[in-house]
């Protein structure tokens, strides 16, 4: 499912980002665009309202905001481990071998394909084990304003869980969290992804399951 786009501002952002991107990134962008067009779409309003009521329910079910963040991440994780296959079946990306590759693929293809969001990769750390995904519009929070008592809520934390789950299927264990969010008054959304470890191919971790 992808989100039907909002025109105008997003369009301009896309063109600007497209012009700046290098050839490899440009390729990824094309893949994302194609996959978006092929996939089924749901109206952005439906997604935003459904997601909002989901978050509301989780808040009603759990006492602390910290726990709510954790639950959203967990839900996302369970989506992510399944979505990884969906992604490879439909995106045209055939493999994703290294943590460095994963950055471009998640930001340029994944975000475009599933959320119709133009995202960019930046802020690599010195030893290439952490990066940030930056994007300015977040369809999940289209109509959301955070009340003061929920200031600590990471509203779209589900997305972090999805990324964590999907990368784990590729044997990359990552830590993933929102560090900036437009809901909290920042100019941009920033998701920080840092590599924890790479699992070995030959020893399947879930043999016992």
């Amino acid at each position: 499912m992808a989100v039907a786009g909002l025109k105008g501002k997003r369009q301009r952002v896309k063109e600007a980002a497209g012009a700046l991107s290098m050839s490899k990134g440009g390729n990824m962008q094309k893949l994302g665009e194609l996959a978006l067009q092929k996939g089924e779409r749901v109206p952005v309003e439906l997604l935003a309202l459904t997601y909002g009521s989901l978050v509301r329910q989780v808040i009603a079910d759990y006492e602390s905001i910290e726990e709510v963040n954790k639950q959203l991440d967990l839900m996302g994780y369970n989506i992510g481990v399944r979505l990884a296959d969906d992604f490879f079946a439909k995106s045209g990306v055939s493999d994703c071998r290294s943590f460095q590759d994963s950055a471009e693929i998640v930001a340029k293809v994944g975000f475009k394909m599933y959320l119709n969001v133009q995202a960019s990769v930046d802020l690599w750390n010195a030893d290439n084990t952490a990066y940030s995904i930056l994007f300015d519009e977040n369809p999940l929070a289209e109509f959301t304003e955070l009340p003061e008592e929920y200031a600590q809520l990471s509203f779209s934390n589900l997305v972090c869980g999805v990324i964590r789950g999907a990368l784990e299927m590729l044997l990359l264990v990552v830590k993933c969290e929102f560090v900036r969010s437009t809901l909290q008054g920042n100019e941009m959304n920033e998701i920080r992804i840092s590599l924890v470890e790479m699992l070995r191919e030959s020893a399947p971790e879930d043999d016992e399951d």
């Binding site: 990884a84 296959d85 969906d86 055939s94 493999d95 994703c96 299927m169 399947p204």
Partner: protein, 151 residues
Amino acid sequence: MGVQSFFVLNKAGGLIMQRSYSDRAPRLTQNDYIHLASTFHSMQLLVRELSPVSNARECGGIARMEATTFRLYAMIAATGVEMFVTCDANPATAPAAGAHDRMADFLKEAYISYTDYVLKNPFYEIDMPIKSEPWDAHLIKIVDKYNRVGS
């Protein structure tokens, strides 16, 4: 072309789905299918290790095997899910030129339908045997389509 048997393996090499679509496909016991599948998985790992490409994951493993009586096509997804399908090598029904791509397409279509019908069922547990009637029905349609194309 006659599609005979279709297998799906999880990333540990366990058989999670097997269906036969032809009278000519050999009838084996469930245990034999499981043995076959895990043996094939071992061969895939071996082939990937033997590959001159340094990173084992860069090698796609066995894509195609030809025997005098049948052909086998296989694919491994980046997540480790593996699928393979056997089909006729009988001259009357054997695939003509270009059929290799067609069977690769068959596997791709089967993979897409796996993500839709199996993984999006919230009650399906990943890596567990697949019992999904809607998927079975959809696979029969895909098989029919490819059988028609070949004839």
